[in-house]
Symmetry: C2
Subunit: 386 residues, 2 copies
């Protein structure tokens, strides 16, 4: 356990305090984090020099100030959901918890999730996107080449199997037979397991760029991918807004700067229209990725200043909001790291728009109520669920 | 390395030799396996007493004889595909290899795979199935309760993440940053990783039964689930007929013996009609699960005798065939292991029908050619791809 305290010349408001807390929790197992008279106190369940913790806390406080908070769209609705619809959805078994961050879906929740994907797929078609499908397992090297394990160690998940030898298989089979163990398996050689050659996909778009590696004839293109993605996190309160496994659809643009920026503008227009038809309140505002630790803070500041990432944030219930979609520009990041170029030998730009289907469906049940039959008929018609 | 030899009173034919080889490879890293004059010779890259290997080989030879080979349906077509269509599909990038057993899909291959799922989904609807969706990660305990890790260690894949502490995350971030490593990551505590709490789903139906655990009011029901599943294996030759990650749809029946057997008959009829409309040759024949090692051999024999498992086997190209679907009865296995009962306090039976979409799509390209435009118009119309 390590504790530190940083003095502040000016108190942080509640939003700012929340942002700083979120940034710290990406890197630390935070035991206590609060504002007292004139300063911020932080206690973490990690062992490191107190001075190092203080330095990191100061960097986080500085990085937060870079956030522009710029909004490029805002839509409000009358009223706000006061009650979480999730207990009602669980009571009728539309939503069933399988484990921390893992849920099964059926009934109206699944119908809405499926309908939302159809809408996003239609947005993709309008943008001229070609459909692709990827496996949820990717070679470790695909993510290593873009420094994913360095930037997001807290989210990474690796797939480990048993070694292809009789002895290893026998050991594993005996040790983890029915009735053994405590619900956890250490993926070690002692248990018969081999090192992981694949990671679970944390998103769906990276594979689009990776498939272009080494090519010298890449032209302007729009792609769309739907799939399940995996992150080593879960909502502490068991809610649907932070899952370990969830489904998303991305619309990916690769090409010249003009092409990528032009498609981004068109897609933002389509998104705002969709949010309006779904009758969801939202803001589209500058955001940053949850990079890990200290050298990531500069990346966050850069993301904000360069307006590389926006999130579509919508209310859930009470004072809770969540990001249901994001709009990202990568400049030439993937082209450089995966070494693909256009016919002139230039690096290509890329960008993506990503929709999180469970969050979007959850926001819909918050906004319109736990019973689909009671939703406005215009919304049901727009979803094709009449 | 261990070698052994077993004498045979009668030589095995080619099919029988193939079956024995497949059974051995589930448990061993086989270096050599052949028939000489009057016997079978086996060499494995595993270290165990030669006598033990000999005993296991004898058991495998005996278990194979139990196989009834019973066919309950057979359909033949004129001609047979001589050339693998996969190189042509890869050349036009409909199929792109990401890693061993991992492929990305687009274009005609993806359109056919999607259309095939629509057909199977329609079969499910006709059977009165309710649609469910599951995450591809399941708690270790879900599989342990049905002894999966004991019966199929060679197929198991576990998901391991980094421990939720600053030091572990820093260690992992530094060790596996860009440019480091050899494409593999050992999931050990030394590398900052925590034991696995979740496994990758090896199938889609187990979760249906698990969600009923503890219930005493379970009635007759038909469910259907589509999803990606994961097995720690891959085609050595890089073909599409054995993948590490692939998509399947299952139609699951839970209820009384009469209900489950009645639905099985109806579903077999629907399957044969579908194979006929797709103009695929096939047989539906008795089969067994790839249980690991010695105590599994008795299970295989029992499966065959009790007619618990049938496979829909269809030609690929040359002399290669593959199973594109299976028909399974579980008796009261899941009801007992997950402890759910009907209102009278009795255990419930269950069964499932499973379709492997990549194999089915691959078989279609083998049968009708690499270019969808050249397929018979009746087949394209049936797929809704006109």
């Amino acid at each position: 356990m390590t504790a530190t305290r940083v003095e502040l010349s000016e108190a942080l408001d509640r939003d700012a305090l929340g942002q700083v807390g979120d940034m710290l929790r990406r890197s630390f197992d935070v035991a206590a984090f609060d504002q007292d008279d004139g300063g911020i106190r932080l206690v973490v369940n990690d062992v490191l020099p107190s001075e190092e913790l203080k330095k990191l806390l100061k960097q986080v406080l500085r990085a937060r100030r870079y956030a522009t908070g710029e909004q490029i769209f805002s839509r409000s609705v009358a009223g706000r959901c006061s009650e979480d619809p999730q207990p009602a959805l669980e009571a009728k078994r539309d939503v069933a918890r399988i484990g921390p961050g893992l849920f099964a879906f059926r009934g109206d929740f699944l119908r809405v999730r499926t309908a939302l994907d159809r809408l996003v797929q239609e947005v993709a078609r309008q943008a001229g996107a070609e459909e692709l499908a990827y496996p949820a397992l990717w070679p470790v090297g695909l993510l290593q080449a873009i420094n994913y394990f360095h930037d997001f160690p807290q989210l990474a998940l690796l797939a480990s199997g048993v070694s292809a030898h009789y002895e290893a298989r026998s050991t594993f089979a005996q040790r983890f037979r029915k009735g053994s163990g405590n619900g956890e398996i250490a993926c070690t050689a002692e248990n018969g397991m081999a090192p992981a050659a694949n990671a679970l996909a944390p998103t769906v778009c990276d594979c689009c760029y990776w498939l272009l590696r080494g090519r010298r004839d890449v032209g302007d293109q729009v792609l769309t991918v739907h799939g399940q993605v995996f992150r080593n996190e879960a909502s502490v309160s068991g809610r649907l807004d932070r899952l370990t496994a969830f489904t998303m659809r991305e619309i990916v643009t690769i090409g010249s700067e003009d092409f990528v920026l032009g498609k981004r503008e068109a897609l933002i227009d389509e998104m705002t229209e969709m949010m309006t038809e779904l009758d969801l309140a939202c803001t589209i505002q500058a955001a940053d990725d949850p990079f890990f630790s200290n050298d990531a803070l500069q990346k966050n500041a850069f993301q904000n200043l360069a307006q590389l990432k926006y999130e579509v944030v919508t209310p859930l219930f009470g004072d809770k909001n969540c990001a249901v979609a994001s709009i990202n520009l990568h400049n030439d990041f993937f082209s450089r790291n995966y070494d693909y170029k256009d016919l002139e030998g230039d690096d290509l730009r890329s960008g993506c728009v990503a929709f999180g289907h469970e969050r979007l469906a959850y926001a819909m049940f918050c906004r319109h109520g736990a019973n689909l039959a009671d939703w406005p008929s215009s919304v049901r018609a727009y979803l094709g669920l009449d």
